[in-house]
């Protein structure tokens, strides 16, 4: 188990380096190849030439690319000093960039927004795991029945609806029409009930989409596993159906579900952009949207970076859980 853990940690460290390079590539190399001036897009389009030149020097855009990557990477761990154009800006570690437009470091913006997104993602994940997996398992066990077909029709509709449309519909019906809830976001510190009321629709909306996906996949996986030899063996040796399903089939069904959960949760923690913009929640996703509108590229760089790290972390957790669920993983 320890050897397995060390291997996974090492792989994660390698991935971390790759991620930083990819993110750097997206924001600094791709625009260069496409013929866009990077300094201008970092300041915003209406900046004066002097400011653009200052940012060019601060980011070291004239330096060789390996030096730029190194500065970018180093900043995350030890902080970074931006100097040039007549002034110097300190960006303390972990430096995820500096927004020249709003004149603030990106990291505090990210940590400010993070709790909202985390609450949204975790709350929704609980809902969709419970309902999605339950619906999928029941559908597989009652294959071909009215319940199965009904659940699958709902699931198909769920994956075909854009999340912002379901969100807007739910707002129109429950917040505006029936006036059951006040959709205005209230921080948790101010009022628990206000916060809960504002979060309930986003949770349900987000969970509906994912529950639909999980139900479809759980059903398919479960059906496949129910046809396996070891299930027949378990039944043949006289185990109770409850044990066959609960112990033997469920365990194998949960492995792919867990992998998906790791990826989905990681991606959502980095910002449920569509959900947050529909419900106007001040999370990381909303920060991206605001950054798009204000042409504040450093914020987008920061969120992309932190999301990738969240995915990396979530995958690491999943790998460890995998080893707990499935002993074969530890041995290989």
């Amino acid at each position: 188990m320890l050897a397995y853990l060390i291997r996974r940690l090492f792989a994660a460290a390698v991935m971390l380096v790759v991620i930083v390079m990819v993110v750097f590539g997206i924001f600094f190399l791709v625009p260069k190849w496409a013929g866009v001036d990077i300094a201008t897009s970092f300041v915003g389009k209406q900046a004066d030439p002097a400011a653009v030149e200052g940012v060019r020097q601060k980011l070291g855009l004239g330096d060789p690319i390996y030096a730029q990557v190194w500065e970018f990477f180093k900043g995350i761990f030890v902080g970074r000093t931006y100097s040039g154009g007549g002034d110097t800006i300190q960006c303390a570690a972990p430096c995820f960039g500096y927004s020249f437009r709003s004149e603030q470091a990106v990291w505090p913006v990210l940590t400010d927004r993070f709790p909202v997104t985390l609450a949204l993602a975790l709350g929704a994940a609980v809902l969709w795991l419970v309902f999605g997996v339950a619906a999928g398992v029941l559908s597989a066990l009652k294959r071909g029945t009215l319940w199965d077909r009904g659940a699958m029709v709902v699931a198909l509709a769920g994956v075909s609806l854009p999340i912002y449309f379901t969100g807007m519909l739910s707002l129109a019906v429950f917040a505006f029409g029936l006036k059951w809830i006040d959709a205005q976001y209230v921080p948790l510190e101010d009022s628990f009930s206000g916060w809960f009321g504002a979060m309930i629709l986003p949770w349900i909306t987000l969970a509906f989409l994912y529950a639909a996906m999980y139900a479809r996949i759980t059903r398919a996986t479960m059906l496949e596993i129910l046809g396996e030899d070891y299930i027949r063996t378990a039944r043949a040796k006289g185990l109770k159906e409850q044990t066959v399903i609960g112990k033997h089939a469920m365990r194998s069904t949960m492995t792919p579900i867990l992998t998906m959960l790791g990826m989905d949760l990681g991606a959502l923690i980095g910002g449920a952009i569509l959900t947050e913009s529909t419900f106007n929640l001040p999370g990381l996703g909303r920060a991206v949207l605001d950054a798009i509108r204000n042409q504040d590229l450093p914020i987008i760089v920061g969120v992309t970076l932190i999301t990738s790290l969240a995915v990396l972390f979530a995958n690491l957790v999943v790998d460890v859980l995998y080893a707990v669920i499935d002993p074969r993983v530890r041995l290989s």
Binding site: P31, G144, F165, M168, S277, V288, I292
Partner: protein, 335 residues
């Protein structure tokens, strides 16, 4: 023999009987049936998939002839009808978002553009991006998947790592990042056409690993089959084996995965336009209509319902059709 994956159920029983009947008919007059024919026979029995297919076909026709249809209706997607707008609230006069004989789906708030005309033109963007980005993904995925599966070794490891990496990361965010650093003018294109072009490339780029993974797996298993070995022993070269022996057997999974990819791509395009990094106004797109409708969900709910339902119907139709094609081409797969 292992237990059959699919026990006959009420749903599949009649089709099994039909197949038996077909088999006995075949016994009398021996007649070869190609894979395509078998798949078509199966697809024909799947009413939901057929319905999805018909809707998809209709949508394609509507998108192709959008200018003609709006011309017949006497509407223009960019023409303002401010006389139909309540000057006080900015919302359309009349009930249900200004639905009338002239404006079958009503008009937009504030400027009064005809919603039906904009929906029809929006279909062009959605389908164009959906299809072409799937094509980019299929081309990249097939080429790289075959390379990885056929040649193996370090090439396989490298391609597989890249695929794992691309699949693991939050695509929407990366797509937003890439689209937002792209120039406003490139290759002689400008305005919305640049955005459409960039979206096709970027969505396609993030989609290829889905195809690549399947193609790689199939190639790996096909490579070891007896018929490939037979071809090799007869002196067939690598190129011949690739194109004549492997590729025909890869067509089915490629078709399945590309049909299932189109609806996802359509949703991604709509999401990008919704977030303001997709096509630029005044070009009509469904996602962008929904994003402007967000300010009116209280006063003019119809404005939000129409594009939302348009996306829903389109994606649902593609999903139904895709599921049907999958079941028809690969009856063993239950996903």
């Amino acid at each position: 023999m292992t237990a059959p994956l699919h026990e006959p159920t009420a749903e599949t029983a009649p089709s099994a009987a039909e197949e038996a009947a077909l088999a006995s008919a075949d016994a009398k007059a021996v007649q070869g049936r190609s894979l395509g024919r078998i798949a078509w026979e199966r697809l024909k029995r799947d009413k939901l998939a057929l319905a999805g297919g018909v809707v998809v076909l209709l949508l394609v026709v509507v998108a192709l002839f959008a200018p003609l249809i709006t011309g017949i209706l006497g509407q223009d997607p960019d023409e303002y009808h401010e006389n139909l707008i309540d000057p006080l609230f900015g919302t359309p006069t009349g009930s249900l978002g200004g639905i009338s004989g002239d404006h079958l789906l009503g008009v937009e708030p504030v400027n009064g553009r005809d919603i039906l005309a904009r929906i029809l033109y929006g279909a062009r963007i959605s389908l164009l991006v959906g299809f072409l980005s799937a094509m980019v993904a299929v081309i990249l995925g097939t080429v790289l998947g075959i390379l990885a599966g056929f040649f193996g070794g370090w090439l396989d490891s490298a391609i597989s790592r890249v695929m794992d990496g691309l699949l693991a990361f939050p695509q929407l965010l990366f797509i937003i990042a890439l689209v937002s650093v792209m120039p406003n003018e490139m290759l002689g294109l400008s305005g919305s056409s640049v955005r459409v072009f960039v979206m096709i490339l970027v969505i396609g780029f993030f989609g290829w690993p889905y195809i690549g993974r399947v193609v790689r797996g199939q190639t790996l298993s096909l490579r070891e089959r007896e018929y490939v070995e037979a071809a090799r022993s007869l002196g067939a070269g690598r190129v011949y084996i690739l194109f004549k022996e492997l590729l025909p057997n890869l067509v089915a999974p490629i078709v399945v995965y590309s049909t299932m990819m189109i609806p996802t791509n359509i949703l991604t395009e709509a999401a990008l336009s919704f977030l303001g990094v997709g096509v630029k106004p005044p070009t009509a797109s469904w996602g962008q209509m929904l994003s402007s409708a967000i300010d009116y969900y209280e006063s003019d709910p119809m404005y939000m319902v129409v594009p939302g339902v348009a996306i829903f119907i389109t994606v649902l139709a593609f999903n139904l059709f895709g599921d049907g094609v999958r079941d028809a081409l690969d009856p063993k797969a239950s996903r």
